[in-house]
Subunit: 395 residues, 2 copies
């Protein structure tokens, strides 16, 4: 009961400005005495603070304003991708305090080594949190494939070549007993969670996020809720049979969509073999910057590649629009680097298929870029604190 | 507040057996006095009754058992389809008390005449309810197309040839001021609501319903909730670009899926022009019975048609499985008449594309058949009574 009331109070503080105990009591329906006790507890956990300055402009006697704090309560988000590992540290107010992307060709690296690197990145984040006098309440990790939520393991990630990797258990073993709890989720779903939380128009409840590295996946938010499917397998759109006919995919099927819209398809179209943009030891962000520069200077091959990607993207997006009717589609992964080359032709193609005004979707490039899945991972574990504030230890 | 508590009590009674006032008070957290008053109110509205017999087997003093009644509180559901109008009357306990299907070639009938016929069917239902000493609390109507919920109008229904038909307003004008409230929804979504409520395995939360008359549409239940999309346009799968290339569809696109899985495709494949099964003045159920008989007796043309339909269905269903990851797929419309010819080959095709155990979906034929959308419409308006029991007038 106390936990539920602390959760109610913390969520209430998340939306809106700092405000007095009296107003918080009215808003939550709790007594003034209970409200004061809960706020004292939340202050003790480092989750809220009393604002020094008096509130002004309010009717009645001004009181000390209570605000969400959480500047020392951190969620760590990570992404295991084909070409990189990403890490981001977010505080309880949603501010990113640290980000890192490390280039790594995961499919050709032994699994144990990838796990070692992940553990080292987490240890760095733990040190950073300690240096700020804070704590990490959890680690949310995204992986490009089918994930078992309960055990925190990757069941099948075709583009990593991973089958049955117990990520949470392996990392816990490396980090020791003091490690924060670890949660694993599909990367596109985490990306959708992150994009949904930073959307500008809060009235949008139906959002489709398309991740695009070597693999392509969708994260679906429907009616304001993440849609997982019965076994977390929803949004496996990279393997829809709308790609190049007859071409084999690592997933075991042929003709998968990601084979003509994924990163490898774009790179193959955009540059000769041997070109620096194919060198996986060069960070992906750097390679995308090079290609972006070429597009801006009118490189015919890059422009033709982007045109082909736009056409192929339109085919799959029109399927997703008909099935899901999203209000907003966010293009993630490598797409945002080329938004101004992709958005207009895709929007035109979707409009040409429109049956009714109500089927239009707003198409935008992600502002979170390659870090959106990691950010979503951090939000996932921070959300646990809003559900149960006692997960934060007393400061 | 009183309404909310009445709703809480009525919903509480919906699940589980008849039980005592004392137990209901415990379950709802309301005081015994409030519980007794609420039950008296609900009895007055004809929604619950006191069971004559004493409860047995319970610990403590046996009391009179309270049960949901509602045998005189009806919801009317209707479906406007390409080939027929369907009506069903369902009582508050979910029992169907009346059903009717009337053959009608709607695209070649003036809209006003269709509305006249709908009004007559509703008037019959109102008379039937009165004869049983009861009342109709609402009318839920499904239409095959894009529906505007707020105004109760059809925005675009390509297979009916309807653009902007104000169904609710037109029917209200025909029925007069005493008419029950009318709600309009997409037919496939209503079908999904109905199929979800009659599913045998209550643990299934993710269900895909495929309606199939001339048009094909999907109703999606995700995480136990109907997914509408931002403008109610989700599940427009009949117009996915996976049908016969280049063939024009009434929707304005070409190559739509319903052109090779819809009823017209099946009929064209299954029988020569001029055959009785093409005669739209013959009820659809009768025509399907004839074709089913031919399939059972080994008619090569019908069997080849069913084989082609199964193949074409597999293509679209594999797309929907990858996007939505449903636990169960219910084939509605004309499909259930041929379940044993369709389920096995489609299941095999989906299994061949399976990437992980977690992607398997259970495929079944609808048991509600052509009436599922109508049944869903009735449930929709009955649900309003569970939200606000005062919608039922005192008996």
């Amino acid at each position: 009961m106390r936990r539920a009331n602390m959760s109610l109070m913390l969520r209430s503080l998340r939306s809106g400005d700092p405000r007095s105990r009296a107003r918080l009591a009215t808003e939550t329906g709790l007594s003034k005495g209970t409200t004061s006790t809960l706020i004292a507890d939340l202050v003790g956990l480092g989750l809220v603070r009393e604002d020094e300055r008096e509130r002004t402009g309010a009717v009645g006697r001004p009181g000390t304003a209570i605000a969400i704090d959480g500047g020392r309560v951190f969620g760590v988000g990570m992404e295991i991708n084909v070409d990189y590992l990403a890490l981001t540290v977010v505080d309880l107010r949603g501010r990113t305090v640290h980000s890192a992307v490390a280039a790594l060709d995961i499919a050709s690296t032994p699994v144990s080594e990838v796990l070692d690197q992940l553990a080292r990145l987490i240890e760095d984040a733990i040190r950073l949190a300690r240096a700020r006098g804070g704590q990490i309440v959890g680690i949310g990790i995204g992986a490009p494939g089918i994930v078992d939520l309960d055990s925190g393991s990757v069941r099948f990630a075709p583009n990593l070549g991973w089958h049955g990797v117990a990520v949470a258990r392996e990392l816990a073993a490396r980090l020791g007993p003091a490690a924060p709890p670890i949660r694993l989720e599909n990367d596109s779903k985490l990306g959708a969670v992150a994009e949904f939380s930073v959307r500008e128009n809060q009235e949008i409840e139906d959002l489709l996020y398309l991740s695009a590295d070597v693999g392509v996946g969708a994260g679906i938010v429907a009616g304001g809720r993440l849609m997982r499917g019965w076994s977390g397998f929803s949004g496996e759109v990279g393997h829809l049979p709308i790609g190049p006919q007859g071409v084999a995919c690592p997933c075991g099927r042929t003709g998968c969509w990601e084979l003509n819209v994924g990163l490898n398809a774009f790179l193959a179209l955009a540059a000769e073999p041997g070109d620096v943009v194919h060198d996986r030891s060069v960070p992906l962000e750097e390679r995308l910057r090079i290609l972006r520069g070429r597009a801006d200077s009118g490189d015919g091959r890059v422009l033709a590649a982007l045109s082909a990607i736009a056409t192929n993207l339109s085919i799959g997006l029109s399927v997703l629009v008909d099935v899901l009717n999203p209000r907003m589609i966010v293009l993630g992964g490598y797409f945002p680097s080329f938004s101004d080359f992709l958005i207009a032709p895709i929007t035109a193609a979707l409009e040409a298929r429109r049956m009714d005004l109500g089927s239009s979707a707003i198409l935008v490039g992600s502002k979170l870029g390659l870090t959106s899945a990691a950010r979503g991972g951090a939000q996932l574990v921070l959300e646990d604190v809003f559900d149960d504030p006692t997960l934060a230890s007393a400061v």
